[in-house]
Amino acid sequence: MMTSPHTCPQCGTELPADAPDGVCPTCLVQQGFDSHTAAANLASGTTGLASGPGFVAPSPDELSGRFPQFDIIELVGQGGMGAVYKARQPTLDRVVALKILPPEVGHDPAFAERFKREARALAMLSHPSIVTVYDSGETDGLYYFAMEFVDGTNLRQTIVQGGLTPPEALAIVPQICDALQAAHDEGVVHRDIKPENVLIDKRGRVKITDFGLAKLLGTDTDDTAIGKPFTLTDTRQVMGTAHYMAPEQIQSSSGVDHRADIYSLGVVFYEMLTGELPIGRFEPPSSKVRIDVRLDDVVLRSLASAPDRRYQHASDVKTEVETILNDDPEHRPPVPNTPNLRPSARDRLKAPAVGLVVASAVDVVATLGILLFSLRISAVASDALTIRTLIFNAVGVASLTHGIVLALGAAKMFRLRSYPIAVGASVVAILPFGPGAAISLPFGIWALIVLLTGETRAAFAAGSGRDIS
C-alpha cells in the first residue's frame, strides 16, 4: 500500500493542506456513520469498473506470477474493494475477468470460511443476466474470482455519457428484474445494486455483477465480533452507494432481505428515467420526463421505505412495467408539452383537502358563535338554563374537534404524510359532528376516493420515507 506523507494512508487520496488535525477529512466524515455496518455497506464499491483510489492494484506483471493459469492482459478497473483484470485462460481459450480482493481481507481469520461459503452460493447462480462466476479461490493470501468477461460498458458510464431515453431505460429494467429474481430464488441477495454493477455488453444485454460481494466484504455478518478492529470497513471508498441503499439496510444490515434489492432497483430505475437520484422530496419521474404516469407508481412503490409496502418480488416489477408497455402499444409518449396526462396524487388530493380546510374554518367559526351565544344566555338567565348551556357546550366541543381533525387531515394530504390520519380525517369529515359537516361530507367522500387508489398510497409511502431535505 502506498503511503506517501501527502496521501491518506486510509483511502489513498491526497491529504488537503487544510485537513483538520492532519487527518483525512473524507475518512473523518465516513467515521460519522452510526454503525460500521452501514459504512461498510456504503463502501462495497468494487465493481468491474468502479472508480476511486485506496486499493493499489498490482500491475499485471506482478500478478501473473501468482496466477500461472491465466495470462493477465490488463487492469480494467479498480476500487476500494479490489481490482479487476482482463485475462485469458489458455486451457479453455476464453477471456475472463479476474477480480482480486484487497489483501487485507485475509487478515480476518473468519474470512476464509465466509469466502468459501459465499463463493459456493455465487457459483450456483446461472442466468443470462448474471455475470457467471467460473472459479474462485485463494492464492498466496490473495482471494480472487474468475468471472465471465463482459465486453461493454456499465450503466453508470451510460448515464454519464448522455443518458438513456425512457424506452432504453424501460428495456433495461425487466432484465435487471430477471436477474434479481433468479438470484432471490436461490436465496442470494445482491445488497449493492447500483449503476456500476449493471454491465451492458456490446449487444445491449444486461449483466449484473458482484452478487453478494457486499455481504462478503462487509462486516455485517455475525462472523465479525463487535469491537474488533475493522479490516474492511476501513477500505471503504464509494460513499455514493448509500444513495442506492434501502432505509432498513442503512440502519442495520442484519435482517435485510431481497426487498432491499427492490428498493435499490427503484433508485436505479428513477435515475435512469430522470438522471437524478430520488433524494429528499423528489418528484415523480413523469413530472420530469415524458413517460406513462403509471410508471410513477411502479417506481414509487419500489421506493417505499417500509419493505412491506414495496413489491415483494422483482418479477412483480417486471410484470408491471411490461403490462404498462404492452398497454401502450408504441410506448406512445404523451403529447409534447403536456408531460402529465394524469395529475399526480398530490394534485388530485389538493381540491378535496382545500374543501376540508374550508369546512374546518366553518366549524371553528360556528364553535365561536355557539360559545358566545352560550355565554350570553348563561349570563342572562340562571340555573334553569344549565342543561341548555351544557348542550351548547357539548355541541361546541364536538364542532371544534370536527374542525381540528379536518384541518389536520388536510395538512397531511397536502404533505402526503401519515396516511392513516388522512384517511381517518376523511371518515370524520363524513360524520355529522359539526356545522362544517354540510361542506365536509362531499369533500370527505372525494378525499377517500382519491386516498384509496394505489397510486396515492404509493405516493404516501414514498412521501413518508426518505423525505429529508
Partner: protein, 226 residues
C-alpha cells in the same frame, strides 16, 4: 439548536443563533471572498450579514421543511449579497458594533490555505462547512482527552480516527505508549466511538431531525470529494 434558533425572539433563540454563527462563519466568509470581494469588504459583508441575521431574526422565517441550517445560511447570504449591501451600508448596520467575535485574521489565513481548485463559491462554502464541522468535533474530542489528562494520548491516536490504516503500526504505537497492542486497539476503538457520537451530535444541531444526520453526512462527504 436550529429549532431553538427559529423560535420567536426568545433570548435563547438569539443566543443559539449567535452560537451557530460563531461556529460557521468561516465558510460564509470564504464564499464572500471567492465571490471576488477584497479582504476588507468580505469582512464587513460577513459581519454585516450576521448583524442582519441577528437583527431581523431572519431565522424565524427559516423554512422548517428544508431542515438544513447549512443551506439556509447560504441562501440567506446570497439574498443578502444580492441586495448589494455596500460597504457604507455595512458600516452603518454592522460596522459600528460587532455582534459576534470573528477572528478574521485567522479566517484570511485559512482562506489562503484552502485549495483554490474548487470551481464554484458554493462548492468552496460546502467544503469549508464540512471542514469546520470536523475541526469542531475534533476539538471537542481533544478537550475531553485533555480534561481526563490524556492529551498526549489524543495526539498519538488521532491519526487512527479516520480508519485503521496508518503509517505507524499498532505495535510501534504500543511501544511508544508503553502499553500492549490490544490496549491500543481498544483505546482507538473507544476514541472512534466517542468521536462518532460527538460528530453526529454536532451535525444534529444543524438539521431538524435526528433522522437527517446520515443524510447530512452523505452531503458532507460529497462536498469533500473533488
Amino acid at each position: 439548536m436550529v429549532v431553538e434558533a427559529g423560535r420567536r425572539s426568545s433570548p435563547q433563540s438569539a443566543d443559539a443563533l449567535a452560537t451557530l454563527c460563531e461556529i460557521y462563519w468561516f465558510p460564509l466568509y470564504a464564499y464572500v471572498r471567492r465571490q471576488g470581494q477584497s479582504t476588507d469588504d468580505a469582512q464587513d459583508l460577513t459581519q454585516a450579514f450576521f448583524a442582519h441575521l441577528l437583527d431581523k431574526q431572519t431565522l424565524r422565517v427559516a423554512d422548517r421543511e428544508r431542515g438544513h441550517f447549512r443551506s439556509f445560511l447560504l441562501t440567506s447570504l446570497k439574498h443578502f449579497l444580492a441586495k448589494q449591501w455596500r460597504r457604507d451600508a455595512a458600516q452603518k448596520r454592522g460596522g459600528g458594533r460587532a455582534p459576534i467575535a470573528l477572528d478574521f485574521d485567522d479566517g484570511e489565513t485559512r482562506y489562503r490555505i484552502a485549495p483554490s481548485h474548487e470551481s464554484t463559491p458554493e462548492k468552496l462554502f460546502e467544503r469549508q462547512w464540512a471542514l469546520t464541522l470536523l475541526a469542531r468535533a475534533l476539538a471537542t474530542l481533544h478537550r475531553e482527552f485533555e480534561a481526563s489528562g490524556k492529551a498526549a494520548r489524543f495526539v498519538s491516536l488521532k491519526m487512527y480516527l479516520g480508519g485503521e490504516k496508518s503509517r505507524v503500526p499498532y505495535r510501534e504505537l504500543a511501544g511508544q505508549l508503553d502499553t500492549s497492542e490490544g490496549a491500543v486497539k481498544v483505546a482507538i476503538h473507544r476514541m472512534r466511538r466517542r468521536y462518532r457520537a460527538i460528530l453526529r451530535d454536532e451535525i444534529r444541531h444543524t438539521v431538524d431531525a435526528a433522522e437527517d444526520v446520515d443524510d447530512e453526512l452523505r452531503r458532507l462527504f460529497d462536498a469533500l470529494t473533488p
